[in-house]
């Protein structure tokens, strides 16, 4: 009985809430279905509690010259709000010890602080610059920040096979006018709700980038994570390969490991 309740009731709850609150007018079926996909993706990641991983970005320019960025990323699930995350850079070596603390919110602007190790200074920064490049890479800040359902509106496009499973193709439009995109097309599988691909369209509506997810692993808590994320910029010919390693869940982390004191201690 308990199992029955926990599985079915929330789904009904979510659907009825949407139809009651989100749209006053009768929503189109493409909107409802698109939103339903987004909810499923979001719910599939519920209960990850926290995650610690190493990330390495390899940036490649048009001439094929490479440079790398390495960092440790810690994230904490926060109930009824966006996630908290702490990113600590270890390379290039001149930015070693620089750390970035972010509290994501669904609709309010995110709270962000930067720690500058040379001055031992914690600096509050504006989260408005979401469309700018993250560490000179092809990933924008908004591409790597926590993906809350409320940050987009959705339109279902079609069914398509994704990552070998029956999947969905959905168009999502960022709510924030500061976003660098007019829309994104997402490919997601309909079983584990994993991203297969995302296409990004710039402010002029032209295709800008595509992000391909690869090499998924399932962890002991049931969560799936891709080890490889390849971002290609179609307009500049540049690319960034993001490789995740040493992914760990359920670490001994609390909110105190995601505050300004922790930012100063971060290594």
């Amino acid at each position: 009985m308990k199992l029955f309740q926990s599985k079915i009731i929330p789904i009904i709850g979510v659907l009825s809430l949407q139809s009651l609150l989100v749209w006053s007018a009768e929503p189109s079926s493409a909107e409802v279905k698109g939103n339903w996909v987004a909810e499923q993706i979001d719910r599939s990641d519920d209960g990850f509690v926290n995650q610690v991983s190493q990330a390495t970005m390899t940036l490649k320019n048009k001439q094929g010259q490479e440079s790398t960025r390495s960092m440790t990323i810690k994230s904490l699930e926060v109930e009824s709000d966006g996630d908290k995350s702490l990113t600590i850079f270890s390379s290039p070596r001149d930015v070693k010890g620089t750390a970035f603390l972010s509290f994501t919110h669904a609709l309010e602007p995110d709270d962000q602080w930067l720690f500058l190790p040379a001055l031992k200074r914690v600096k509050r920064i504006s989260s408005n610059n979401k469309s700018g490049p993250f560490m000179g890479s092809e990933f924008a800040y908004e591409d790597i920040s926590s993906q809350e359902v409320e940050k987009y509106t959705y339109q279902y496009i079609r069914e398509e096979k994704v990552l070998g499973e029956k999947g969905h193709v959905v168009e999502r439009v960022p709510v924030d006018p500061k976003s660098g995109y007019t829309k994104q097309i997402i490919w997601v599988d309909g079983v584990a709700w994993r991203f297969g691909k995302i296409e990004f369209y710039d402010r002029k509506g032209k295709k800008l980038k595509s992000l391909t997810y690869d090499d998924y692993n399932q962890y002991s808590n049931g969560k799936w994570r891709a080890n490889k994320m390849a971002m290609i910029n179609h307009q500049t010919g540049k690319s960034t390969l993001l490789i995740w390693s040493d992914i760990k869940f359920g670490q001994d982390l609390t909110e105190r490991d995601f505050d300004q004191n922790a930012l100063k201690r971060a290594r």
Partner: protein, 399 residues
Amino acid sequence: MKRLPKPFLGFLGLFLSPLLVAVDRGGEFSGELSFEARSYLERGAYGNTGLGDFSIILQPEYAVAWEEDRKVVSFEPFIRFSSLDDERTHGDIRELSFVGSWDLFELRIGISKVFWGVTESQHLVDVINQTDLVESPDGEDKLGQPMVNFVYVNEYGNFEFFILPYFRERTFSGYDGRFRTNLVVDGESPIYLHGDEESHIDGAIRWSHYLGGLDWAISYFEGTDREPTLKANLIGTKLVPVYGQSKQASLELQYVVGDWLLKSEVLSKDSDQNGNYWAMVAGFEYTFANYYQGMDVGVLYEYLYDDRGESSGSGLDDASFVGSRIALNDEKSLEFLVGGIVEHETGKLSNAFLESSRRINENWKWTIEGSFFAKPKSGSFLEKIKRDDYLQGSLSYFW
């Protein structure tokens, strides 16, 4: 080269044991080695006629962290060899500390650095660490300060307590050095107005918190004034720093709204030598984010005020700072920073600076920097060092 004084070394000894524990755990060795060439555009006015200063700077760091970085021991010595100025050739222990975090509190103990403040043109309220003035005339470099820093953390923010058991004397240029007036400051034989001299135990408390886009901090400090007055000795051959006692309360405010950062620092200070006065810095930073192909263009304005007026000696008692920061956000992190200060009384630019840096590869980076004095107010300190304009290039290796 200056020696570290004895009580200071004793204090160091106290922290050698955690360091040994740390070494046993195995940590990370990193650091920075820089080669710096500075060229002054004119010969100095006070016999300090050397035009070039070639420096080598080494700042290694050994750090051990455990329990998800809740406990960190770090050691960071610093040394500079300067070809121009014997006093600029100096060493320091920037960091030799243990920091621990527990559920509701944090403890930092040892030699460390603490930054207070939000503005860019002046760090008015930043009082814990002494300025390592020979490093740079902008005063941003600091000497390691022995401290016990206790932080109580709850839903109302951070409540901090500082005990600062040993005072660090400011560094000053020697005879061949720049940024000095006609008499050399003998930084090694200061006068203290309090009988406890450098062993006076200073203290501070601070409350900091944030709500939405607003960050604030209220602090109180009591102890040896970090800023000495300079007094000529009896025979008028040199200047001697005089350190008095001081009390100061300060407020920092920063509000983030859209692309705007609104900032303000207010200081109210009562010192043995300067009496009661207040000063402030207030302004904004606006960023044209992702202005062109990922490039950020920031515009900064800050108003500087000091209640002492001209007697503050800084020439910044009623002035405006205007600056711009341009970051290309490319793979080499090319950046430019330019700024200047206009004094309202004269309506003229008193000084200006520029800085640019770019990464070469994973480990190397170059930086160029320039500092220029234009038309500082007559009688101000800046006017006396007017001939010390310089251009500097440096190449740094990070590991």
